[in-house]
């Protein structure tokens, strides 16, 4: 039984209580619900977190932005080709400080999802993001990126307009920025498409978000030639916030309320805001060139490898 089934079960149980009104058995039912909540809903496997990260009711970038910055002004277009709706960008004030906010936006309804391409950006989306980041650099504004994408879109148009080139350009330019860059993984962080906005001074991550090199389904179909083994793949790939914190790939985990972000969005937003502002005040004390250096030094250390020490070897040979 995965987390979505459990959620449905919880809803059914709670509905029962409401239907019963003031009957005698209500206390027993309430107890059952409490037990269910305590025992079943709190233990989440990696696959449960994947499902939560993709939950249709999960708050999207725009919801976060609306809560964080009430005066958000959206800017459209990359000034080269067109406007990609799967990336929203603009400026807004969070706690009195003007941020450039860029986020990957999935849709809620089917129509919106088609319009937003299910949160899978095209090259023009990345170029828009880059344009806004350079603008932020000019006006010395901190940058906040919200990551929520299954990956960059693999399609004919995207390849024709240089998907790989756009992502690479983003990574290169982001490494030269001299303003604070904060990235928050709010849902799915899928492969290069997520990293193109995730090259930051500090990377925060919601508790039930995932960040991976490819989808568990893709991994399962490559390794076991069977996409239905995705739950096993999710376990093996180490994609949850806790795993990534252990690897030092992310810097901080933002707690989510019971049952996931969609159970209590406002609480999630509030915690996210606090975490972002804490990080911002920490980064705002650092000199501009130092910020650039810190960002590069951080990625320089990523990797899991060993180098053979030749000096030791000579002793062994003797």
């Amino acid at each position: 039984m995965n987390i979505l089934d459990k959620e449905r079960r919880l809803q059914a149980l709670e509905k029962n209580i409401n239907d019963l009104g003031d009957s005698k058995s209500i206390s027993k039912l309430v107890e059952e619900v409490e037990n269910f909540k305590k025992n079943e809903m709190t233990k989440l496997s990696s696959w449960d977190r994947v499902l939560l990260a993709r939950h249709p009711k999960r708050p999207k970038s725009r919801d976060f932005i609306n809560y964080l910055a009430h005066d958000f002004i959206e800017f459209h277009g990359d000034r080269l080709y067109g406007d990609d709706l799967s990336i929203v960008g603009g400026i807004g004030t969070i706690d009195g400080i003007v941020f450039t906010i860029i986020g990957q936006q999935k849709g809620i309804t089917v129509e919106e999802n088609i319009q937003r391409n299910f949160g899978m950006p095209h090259p023009e989306g990345y170029r828009k993001a880059l344009r806004l980041m350079k603008q932020a650099e000019k006006f010395n504004r901190p940058i906040l990126t919200l990551i929520d994408t299954p990956g960059a879109y693999p399609g004919i148009g995207a390849e024709e307009r240089g998907q790989g080139f756009a992502i690479a350009e983003n990574l290169k330019e982001m490494s030269r920025l001299t303003v604070p860059v904060i990235a928050v993984v709010i849902g799915e962080g899928g492969s290069g498409g997520a990293l193109a906005l995730g090259f930051a001074n500090e990377v925060l991550m919601l508790e039930n978000a995932i960040y991976s090199i490819l989808s568990p389904e893709g991994y399962a179909s490559i390794v076991w030639k069977d996409a239905s083994k995705a739950p096993l793949a999710a376990e093996q790939m180490k994609i949850t916030a806790a795993d990534l914190k252990e690897f030092d790939v992310i810097d901080d985990i933002i707690e989510e309320p019971f049952g996931g972000a969609h159970f209590n969005p406002n609480q999630t937003f509030e915690k996210t805001k606090k975490c972002i502002m804490d990080t911002y005040y920490h980064l705002s004390g650092i000199a501009r060139m130092e910020l650039q250096y810190q960002r590069n030094a951080k990625v320089r250390n990523f990797g899991f490898l060993q180098r053979f020490n030749y000096d030791n070897l000579k002793e062994v040979q003797k």
Binding site: G155, Q163, G164, L195, I239, F302, G303, F308
Partner: protein, 294 residues
């Protein structure tokens, strides 16, 4: 003890077991290249059985249809650089298994034996008709040239070494993308290599990237497409998503020549498609024109 701790112990054990790549092995690497006279192979493009010996003498180009065979890294270095000018750097890296996938280590060892390489990438100092440069070559025979932690580290080191030596960098890419067996670490190599390129570029040094068949995925989306000058070999497959993934996503067959070097040149992403026979000359010209007079 956490998992990282266990790995450190594992590393120590590995350290004891490792053998040195000594001079003898290096020589045997080169001897491997002697292909017997009568070896025939099927050309992937025209499907004809062709004499590999003759093809290799013809610069790894099919005599029949002009197909550019995928070259091994060592062959490429022999082919591009002046004789005896190559000095390999960054040896002794060990690929680890961060996600504890059972078959991964065995697989790596198999490829190590097959290709007599440590990893899918080698780099070092070299000269092209006397022009010094730092050259890096990826080998698609080693696990499809995928970029894991070691490859990413070595690419970053290439640029750092070039900054130290104040020299231009030439990288021949051939890769299926990031190595999924190393999970998030492979993904982070994209940021790491891009940042290294940016650092090298900001100091005003030249970086020429030569895209060879195939260059896809995380490598295209990082250092491969960040060259000041981007060259490519004819008919090389270059793209972000693989053709199969695109076909599955859009549910239709891709047009002929899609994602090939000529196609990308038409779309404005590649400076020039250069025939392998002219490659050395072109690279020498570029290096010569960018020579820094101190």
């Amino acid at each position: 003890m956490n998992k990282i701790g266990e790995t450190i112990i594992k590393r120590k054990k590995l350290k004891q077991n490792i053998r040195l790549i000594n001079e003898e092995q290096r020589i045997s690497r080169e001897l491997d290249l002697d292909i017997p006279e009568g070896l025939y192979d099927k050309c992937p493009k025209c499907g004809k059985l062709t004499n590999m010996k003759l093809n290799i003498e013809n610069d790894y180009i099919c005599k029949n249809c002009g197909y550019h065979f995928r070259m091994r890294a060592i062959d490429r270095i022999k082919y591009i650089l002046d004789e005896d000018s190559f000095v390999e750097k960054g040896i002794g890296y060990i690929t680890l298994n961060p996600l504890y996938i059972e078959v991964y280590e065995a697989k790596i060892n198999k490829y190590k034996k097959e290709t007599s390489l440590d990893e899918a990438y080698i780099y070092g100092f070299g000269q092209i008709y006397g022009e010094p440069c730092i050259i890096g070559v990826m080998d698609s025979h080693f696990m499809m040239g995928s970029m894991g932690s070691v490859v990413g580290e070595k690419v970053a080191k290439t640029f750092e070494y070039a900054i130290y030596k104040k020299l231009p960098v030439i990288i021949f890419t051939a890769s299926g993308g990031a190595r999924m067996q190393e999970g998030i670490f492979s993904l982070m190599q994209m940021a790491k290599t891009s940042s290294a390129v940016a650092k090298h570029s900001a100091l005003g040094y030249l970086y020429v990237s030569v895209l060879t068949d195939p260059t896809t995925g995380g490598v295209t989306a990082s250092f491969a497409s960040l060259g000041d000058i981007i060259l490519s070999e004819p008919n090389a497959l270059i793209g972000f998503a693989g053709p199969r993934v695109i076909e599955q996503t859009i549910n239709q067959k891709l047009p002929e020549g899609f994602q090939r070097a000529e196609f990308l040149m038409g779309k404005g992403f590649i400076d020039q498609v250069v025939n392998r026979k002219d490659l050395k000359k072109t690279l020498h010209q570029i290096l010569h024109m960018h020579r820094r007079v101190i």
